[in-house]
Amino acid sequence: MTVTSIKFYQTGTHTVGNRLLDPSLRTVQADMRRTNSLNSGHRACQGCGEALGARYAIDAAMVATDNQLIAANATGCLEVFSTPYPETSWQIPWIHSLFGNTAAVATGIAAAMRVKGRPEVRVIAQGGDGGTTDIGFGCLSGMFERNDDVLYICYDNEAYMNTGVQRSSATPGAARTATTPAVGKEPGNVFGQGKNVPLIAMAHEIPYVATAIVSELRDLEAKVTRAMEFRGARYIHVFVPCPLGWGHASEDTIRIARLAKETGIFPVFAAEHGEVVGVSKIRTKLPVEEYLRPQKRFAHLFSPEPRPGAIARIQALADRNIRRFGLVDGGTL
């Protein structure tokens, strides 16, 4: 994404109106010709980060492919809230098969397009963190290693929200879920588990891997656009807060996402052919408490008595991200 120097007329925010940007840099969503691929009227919760991420990602992919797009969708919130029979919010050809096979279904679609001589039709697979990092991981890795021409987008809300907030391999340490309850000596999810799928994706040496966050939607759009410039397997991991599962106010989705980035909890970066090519820098580094406090899933870290040990472990993980990805200019903490 090109950087444009602009003058801020508003203070106290990092947002900028489209009218201040060169038309080529303006957001897809601000364009009257946006496709509304995930149309309004679906049944996502108020403040759903996944619905927001999917809407921006798919509309950007539609622009990038001149509307020649097919999507495969894993079982999960996105599937359920968008297609209760006989309604569908999808304005694009869309298929839901199973929870764990979305990457493989997309491989099949891509193969069909190749054999039918329609290379202009591009394929997206999408699912939540459960469908991606857990049950769909075998098919995902298979699609990666074969370098099938599929963009896989994971909307990561760090647990199985559709079934009632159970732990996944993307659930962070200390987080309360229905299967990692906030009881006992070490309440919430245990530390030292889980997997980093963006890094695992990079280890497959696929052409493009990126992370994104719903507080930087223009960045998400730009990454989807960039992903569509490659052929082969591509992966975008989008951090999507879940008001229901995380226990934060629905109007705070964007704020929580921004805090995840500004604390270093969630590193936003892009990698091409296995090498990091860009990171989204932290503008004002904040302590992780700022991120943890507004979320009920971390409430046991603050009351009835504070658990500074657990908070320090989370801070250490955030600091490690900052060092590992160079998220703060100058590299000092």
Binding site: P86, P93, H96, A104, I109, A111, K116, R146
Partner: protein
């Protein structure tokens, strides 16, 4: 063209003639030679316009086939045994979505204990999945059934398993008439999907369906199989006209005209059964055979018509439902429910146990003399079974069953007659 070749090779060549567009392959014995043959044909350019994808599991194989089929491509895969179970969720999904995928099932037992040899337990585990299941008696049959399967599958928009006995057919060399490309093209038109993922006409496939419509959608899958009951004989008749030989159909009768006793079976064991029946005819017995080609849909009327005049029915099946007994026999009983004939169920050939003419000869004589139990386990080593039962009665930590039985039995090679 008549060729002396392996069954798997005959199937691979015939499948290639059906112009599959996406083939997904994951290795499992005994189907491997089929996909190996196809991969070679894709690589050397014999099979054009085909994507051959080496996937990471059977679950992925069926899932890739689902995606390909939903996007309008003719999709094919092959599996067996544990592979079929591993893809089970996708097997049900393919039929639930009404996607016309053709899959060869090289029938093999299911573990534990792990066993690579032939029986029908794998296909029976998916008998209620909504797939059409066609059973091949010979390698010629296996090859021909694939041509009919693609045609039928696409006409009714349902997936089809062509079941051929692992090793007994897949690895047997015999003469097979491989048709010409022109013949197959004349019989099998290009795939025209009922539903397709296409940006020019977007549809959603695979929506969540609640109680308000689920039963109707499931019933329609049943209705399509009932349509297939009518189509299967028509397609077999057309096949005979085009290719000049009998193949397919719902059931096949052998010497049933004046039979008192009918033997019912599926797959390659029909050959041994027919030979035994021929011998019994020479001894003056009135016994005939009913081979079931279409196990799903189950041809209730055709079976009742074929068996209504016999006095007794012996079902020889290479599978059984633990906790009750036969599987095929229960379905046959359903077909004959208004008729008085006794149905004797014989479970035989599990895990590749040879079903010999000698054993069948004795069995059929016993059956004709009404001396069979309702369920018979053919050639079961009762001594080995009872020793293990005794061990478990007398000792809490009696150890792993399979290993105990193997130790008791000792060398097995000499036991095959």
């Amino acid at each position: 063209m008549l060729k002396q070749c392996e069954g798997s090779h005959a199937v691979a060549e015939t499948v290639a003639l059906c112009r599959p567009e996406v083939i997904c392959a994951y290795p499992i014995s005994p189907q491997t030679h089929i996909v190996e043959g196809l991969s070679e044909m894709v690589r050397d350019g014999t099979l054009l316009n085909c994507e051959f994808i080496n996937v990471e599991s059977e679950f992925a194989a069926m899932s890739v086939a689902i995606g390909a089929s939903a996007a309008g491509a003719r999709a094919y895969t092959a599996t067996a045994s544990q592979g079929l179970l591993y893809m089970a969720e996708a097997v049900w999904n393919a039929s639930g979505l009404g996607l016309p995928i053709v899959m060869t099932l090289a029938n093999r037992a299911i573990g534990a204990p792990i066993n690579i040899w032939n029986d029908h337990t794998d296909s029976m585990s998916m008998r209620d999945s909504g797939w059409i299941q066609l059973f091949a008696e010979t390698n010629q049959d296996a090859a021909d059934l694939h041509i009919q399967a693609f045609r039928l599958s696409e006409e009714v928009s349902l997936p089809i398993m062509v079941c051929m006995d692992g090793f007994i057919l897949t690895h047997a060399y015999e003469g097979v008439d491989i048709p010409s490309q022109e013949q197959v093209d004349a019989y099998l038109p290009p795939y025209e999907p009922r539903q397709v993922l296409d940006p020019s006409e977007p549809v959603s496939i695979g929506a969540m369906v609640g109680p308000e419509a689920f039963a109707e959608v499931r019933y329609l899958a049943h209705a399509k199989q009932m349509q297939a009951l009518g189509l299967i004989p028509e397609l077999a008749a057309e096949f005979r006209q085009s290719f000049g030989r009998d193949s397919g159909g719902l059931v096949r009768c052998y010497r049933l005209e004046d039979a008192d006793t009918a033997v019912v079976a599926l797959g390659s064991v029909l050959g041994t059964i027919k030979d035994t029946v021929d011998d019994l005819h020479e001894e003056g017995h009135k016994i005939g055979v009913l081979g079931i080609t279409s196990y799903r849909p189950f041809p209730i009327n055709a079976i009742r018509d074929a068996l209504q005049k016999v006095r007794r029915v012996i079902v020889v099946e290479k599978c059984f439902a633990v906790g009750i007994g036969g599987i095929v026999s229960r379905d046959v009983r359903m077909a004959l429910r208004t008729l008085p004939q006794p149905i004797y169920d014989v479970v035989a050939g599990l895990g590749g146990r040879a079903i010999t003419k000698a054993a069948l000869h004795t069995l059929f004589l016993d059956g004709m003399a009404e001396k069979l139990d309702p369920v018979t386990f053919l050639d079961l080593d009762w001594k080995a079974v009872n020793r293990e039962l005794e061990r478990e009665r007398t000792k809490r930590r009696s150890g792993p069953i399979a290993e105990n039985v193997l130790r008791d039995i000792g060398l097995v090679a000499a036991r095959i007659r």
